[in-house]
């Protein structure tokens, strides 16, 4: 049976350099805005203005106001900040778990490897969102539970990547040389293997961030994520859903667009990075 390719959905993005540059600019702007907004334009998360509810976009409120009179653009920036932060931390957790499993499987090998990889295959068959909902429901919705729920369900690809990389490295001559030179297993791992694996792990983490952001927004949307008055993208779309029928489409459109644009940008940058890391030319012809 051929090896199953479990492709992360965004692995298809292969933009040209120009596209990647644009994406990098968008991403950098978004991150900068997220970092600067608390300094330049601090948000009182609990502030409401009942005298200007559901206002359509104007110059003072470029994305309108929601059903409690809060500025949608301002809250979207804060929501992006929270979502990206959760996404990054959760992706890091997932990478650490996956990295550990992959490292054990790739270095110990044998039965340990076989069992670990079978577990990875089978855990991949568990519906992520359901498992995530279960974890959050049992630990009660909170920041930590959301991060844990993402971390525990998204480590598989990293485990596979790290293991594959380690296995391919083990056959390289410089590793043989190091081992026959008397280097200890730990030393080989930290000095020789890790530097090769780390860039791939970093890439896997980056590619994971959009998934983590989706997971977080989905949980928040279902009311199982962050406390509902905090500005997070999922909460905002959930709130905005109620305003749709009264015609206030802007309250859910804006945070949704933020998710789309930022995840596309992250994916494009990561894809470009991967192409550079792995200069495998997709030969269109054989000469």
């Amino acid at each position: 049976m051929p090896r199953k390719r479990r492709l992360r959905p965004l692995s298809w993005l292969r933009p040209g350099t120009r596209g990647a540059a644009l994406a990098a600019v968008v991403l950098a702007t978004a991150i900068l805005a997220c970092l600067l907004v608390p300094l330049l334009w601090p948000l009182d998360q609990s502030a409401v203005a009942l005298d200007r509810i559901n206002q359509p976009p104007t110059w003072t409120h470029p994305a309108g106001t929601d059903d409690l009179g809060r500025d949608v653009a301002h809250r979207t920036l804060y929501g992006l900040r929270v979502s990206l932060l959760i996404g990054a931390v959760a992706a890091l957790v997932a990478t650490l778990i996956g990295g550990a499993v992959g490292a054990v499987a790739g270095t110990v090998g044998g039965w340990t490897d076989r069992i670990l990889m079978r577990i990875v295959d089978t855990v991949a068959a568990l519906p992520h969102l359901l498992l995530g909902i279960f974890i959050v429901a049992m630990l009660r919705p909170s920041l930590g539970a959301v991060i844990l729920s993402i971390g525990l369900t998204h480590w598989l690809s990293t485990a596979r990547i790290v293991r594959a990389e380690l296995l391919s490295l083990r056959t390289r001559p410089f590793i043989d040389a190091a081992i026959s030179g008397g280097a200890s297993r730990v030393r080989v791992l930290t000095r020789h293997l890790l530097p090769h694996v780390l860039p791939r792990m970093a890439l896997a983490t980056t590619l994971m961030v959009p998934h983590a952001v989706w997971h977080e927004t989905a949980l928040s949307f279902l009311g199982l994520g962050l406390p509902p008055h905090l500005a997070s993208l999922g909460n905002m779309i959930n709130d905005g859903q109620r305003s749709l029928l009264t015609g206030a489409w802007w309250a859910s459109l804006t945070p949704g667009l933020a998710i789309v644009v930022v995840t596309l940008a992250i994916a494009a940058v990561a894809a470009h990075w991967r192409d550079r890391l792995d200069p495998r030319v997709r030969a269109e012809l054989q000469l």
Binding site: M1, P2, K4, R5, R6, L7, P9, L10, W12, L13, R118, I119, D121, T122, V123, A124, A125, L126, P127, H128, L129, L130, L131, I133, F134, I135, V136, A137, M138, L139, R140, P210, W214, T217, A218, F221, L222, G223, L224, G234, I237, Q241, L244, L245, W249, S252, G256, I259, V260, V261, T263, L264, A267, E284, L285
Partner: protein, 323 residues
Amino acid sequence: MSARRTVGRRLLVAVPVLAATSMGMFALGAASPYDPAEQYAGAAAFTATDENLAQLRANWGVDDPLPVQYWRWITNLVQGDLGWSITRHEPVTSVIAARAGWTLLLVGAALALVLVASLLLGTVAAYRRGGWLDRGLRAAAYAVEAMPVFWLALAAITVFALVLGWFPAGGLTDIAADGVHAGDVAHHLILPITVLAVSQAPWFLLFVRDSVADSLRDDHVLAARGRGLPGRTVLFGHALRTALLPFLTLIGTHLPELVGGAVLVETVFSLPGLGAVTVQAALGSDFPLLAAITLVTTAVVLTANLLTDLAYTAADPRVRLDG
């Protein structure tokens, strides 16, 4: 022979993994700070006294030691008794039985739609690689891929239900209808099925497009063209047959994503399926129901994986005869 081995190997892994998963879930449930008695009482907990709640707890044996509770749960589970839903006040089995069909219908129809559409569009895009259809489809696929499915669902409701009024915004049947009529259900399900299908389509579409495009440059396809075979014979008899073999197993591995999407779609469209009840169970911390749904879904997905593996084994002589 090989098929039997596939089944055997799958089961060999699935059983311990299901056992471990169930144990992990039970541990998590036990560690959770929720009081099932209060969850049961719901709003009425406000008027129930402490003794009242203590009696409820005693009635369920929730104060027994953990291993005792786990053993009771797992033995019941194996005997087909999935427990008693705390929030729905009925056996978990009947909650699942009443709703699983609709979820299966939603997931199944969406999967069928995704497969047909992605095979069709992906092949056309690959055939006219670099053309406007190819570029347009790929751009749309990337964009849709970045959209959360619930957002897509909201947009679909806004446009097709609220503005255009073509489809109902939710529900399963027309409410005044006596009984369930296929046409009525179909009309209500078109929008949710389409949304679920569209949200999952990019991955399948791009996969088909890329593998067919690659396969059209494969040696055996060029050779078939070189033999002067007509385009349709080359495409269906040579290019698709090999390009789509891995697709079979990928359907299986992609099912978990589809199930996750169904949870969100059912919630937005207020469909009486398993997804929606999962969310309610989670909000009410209904451990027996949540655990059962997670385990049952996992078992279904594992079975589906097994089936696609078997289908693959049957479809590829290299695997079938090599065992």
